[in-house]
């Protein structure tokens, strides 16, 4: 049987148990905060990060892992003859995918497939988890690649941020967009379209925002959907999302995760999101 190993990056927000259970390797991105560099998920955790985020004088910045780091991981994993599937955060959001491709090109003798998930956070996480389950079932290298390529077209992400400030400062949306409605506590609801952050609509008030999130989710979900509820320093909000989903849909099982510092820097504290994967 073919040996296939999975690699992803720290933005997939996969909890430790699941990583260990499915033997998924993580290459961490870097968080540059107050003149220090932290490895995302290794040297810095969400519980340390979020309370500080809004207080920091200068916004942290993030950077992708170097090709060298990918090379090391690939070489290690391939020692026992395994083939490698490396799935990553949307190339429109980070240079991580590029680094991985460069690393693969430096190792022409190894079987490595580098795939752009067009997604992030648990959107990426769900794709990786499904791939891992298929590998466990004994599916081949080619089959899993095909599956991932299929899944990435069937992942939907809807999230609401407290303010567009972080997205704008991080360069993910334009300034004009960010300024609109800044006086009125407007809650923007966003999604990812072809790997890019795009606005869905703007609403006023937390309650309306939650309502819309649920509505958008219902619009994309079917009975087989896997649903993840994510938050950034907003456990309370995540609970309310769960309550509403239970009240208004047939879904009962959700994966909970906290958005890691890399994405957190770009969306700001308070972010709430729902990710839907239709297998």
């Amino acid at each position: 049987m073919e040996k296939v190993k999975l690699v992803t990056d720290s933005t997939a927000d996969l909890p430790l148990e699941l990583r260990q259970k499915f033997d998924i390797s993580i290459v961490p991105l870097n968080v540059h905060m107050e003149k220090e560099v932290f490895k995302d998920g290794v040297d810095i955790t969400t519980s340390f990060f979020y309370p500080r985020l809004s207080q920091m004088a200068e916004l942290p910045t993030t950077s992708q892992p170097s090709p060298g780091e990918f090379q090391e991981v690939y070489k290690n994993l391939a020692q026992d003859g395994s083939k490698i599937i490396s799935v990553h955060i949307s190339s429109k959001l980070s240079g991580t995918y590029q680094s991985a491709v460069l690393a693969k090109n430096m190792l022409p003798d190894l079987d490595i497939a580098v795939i752009d998930s067009h997604s992030v956070a648990m959107g990426l996480g769900l794709i990786v988890l499904n791939a891992a389950k298929e590998i466990e079932k004994g599916k081949s290298f080619e089959e899993v690649i095909k599956l991932i390529e299929h899944l990435r077209n069937n992942v939907y992400i809807f999230f609401v941020v407290d303010t567009l400030e972080y997205l704008q400062k991080g360069g993910r949306i334009g300034k004009a967009q960010a300024m609109l409605g800044s006086m009125l506590n407007i809650k923007p609801i966003l999604t990812l379209t072809e790997g890019v952050v795009t606005p869905v609509e703007k609403v006023r008030g937390q309650k309306k925002a939650l309502e819309r999130l649920i509505k958008l989710t219902k619009g994309k979900a079917n009975e087989n959907s896997q649903i993840a509820i994510v938050n950034g320093g907003n456990q309370e909000g995540a609970k309310r999302v769960e309550e509403k989903l239970i009240a208004e849909t047939a879904f009962r099982e959700f994966i909970f995760s906290e958005v890691g510092p890399v994405v957190g820097t770009h969306v700001g504290p308070g972010v709430l999101g729902i990710m839907v994967l239709n297998p």
């Binding site: 609109l180 409605g181 006086m183 009125l184 703007k202 006023r204 008030g205 309650k207």
Partner: protein, 526 residues
Amino acid sequence: MLLGGANFLEACKKEVDALNVFPVPDGDTGTNMFLTMLAAAKEAQGCEDGDLEKVANAASMGSLMGARGNSGVILSQILRGVSKGFEGMAQVGAKDFAKALQLGAETAYKGVLKPVEGTILSVAREVGTAALEATYGTKDIIIILEAALAGGEKALAKTPELLPVLKEVGVVDAGGKGYLVILEGALKALKGEENVQAVEENKETANLEKPSWPTSGEPINIEFPYCTEFLVKGQDLPLTKMRQELEVFGDSLMVVGTESIGKVHVHTNHPGQVLEYCLALGSLHEIKISNMIEQNQEMQLESKAIDEQNYAIVAVSVGEGLKEILYSLGVASVIEGGQTLNPSTEDIVKAINQTPSSKVIVLPNNKNIILASEQAKSIVDKEVKIIPSKTVPQGIAALVVLEQTDSFENAVIKMEAAIEEVITGEITFAVRDSQFDGIEIKQGDILGLVDGKILVVAENIREVVGGLIKQMLKHEKELITIYYGQDIKPTEAEELLAELEQEFPEIEFEVHFGGQPLYYYLISAE
């Protein structure tokens, strides 16, 4: 005759205002109609020729641009019809005069989408009919006008029968009365009863600019870059001579006033010379000189930023805070609603033309401004859509739903839907004693309105706010936004917020500075 009408209306303005059914401090019919007539009279005055057709035309155009409020717009339609009736005539005889009055009424009816009986329209119609009937018996214009007036009075007396709300309050229609007052004044002038003076400036109208014809949206003519405006105080000011002599200094000249105070406005290359000239006549005050090239450049830069969209939005509002909020939501140009002064058609036309886009969306944010907006739309060269917002909170809701990626058509659909979702509450004071739906109102009482209907009356603001919010919450809303006006201190507003959060723990509250006059609080529930 026109001047007679305008002057008499000014004198009776308060009487007409008092007929306004609604005891809220808003753009009053009397004031609006007077200002519309003033604009008409000014234009007519400017006509050098005594030719009737020309004078009538000038008056019609003047009222068109100067129209304020719904009553003003309808009046301008009447004038338009009347001036059409005078087409091709240098003077007019009795029969044609009567026909013109009739035509005035017809044109007004045509100008309104949903004509309502029991308003100025009915009165105008009866005036026309009575005038025509009278021509069978006489050729004397004075007698015909008297008959027309009598017919109008009868129609006016009937208006409470046609509009139940008038009956309830016990008044006749304000717009109708205003029209009759104008005719009465004209009659007096015809009879030589009153000394017809040139229309005077008073402090209310001091800020009105002479209507200028809309250009095709080109930026202002920068040939004369210094916009110069000031008051001259002296004795026996020769306004006409000033007008003639200052003409050479530039364009857009306006000289108005009395023998002792004149207001001068001109675009010129030599502001110094203009000032020097007037210095010889008296002392100069409130001098304002601005460099329009600079202003225009700044505007171009700003509008380039906004103009990434293919359409622009123009909105009406009153209040510094509300203005800022509207700008922060992407409005290209905010038209000042003015203190009890609805903006004129011209104000709206200017704002539409100032934006660089060829497609414009207008948010009147007041039901008394919707007609003037429609009139502005018919004048400008651009594609204009009017979202029928009746309050500022409705306008804000319409703006919130917009995304930059929305097309013009999509934006309109979204905005029209959004204004239906908001309930607007207003807290203000009663300007006169009144009675509504069985509730007694005394002047000075605090009133709480929901979407234009008076629902709560009490003697203190806090009580009305609480009662009003309870009423608004009957509609299953979750977010209440409160905009406090210029008469409320920020600490008061914050205290109110704290109390409301306690009283209604299930509801999300937001408080913002609105700065609007006369309305202590504007409240929106979504």
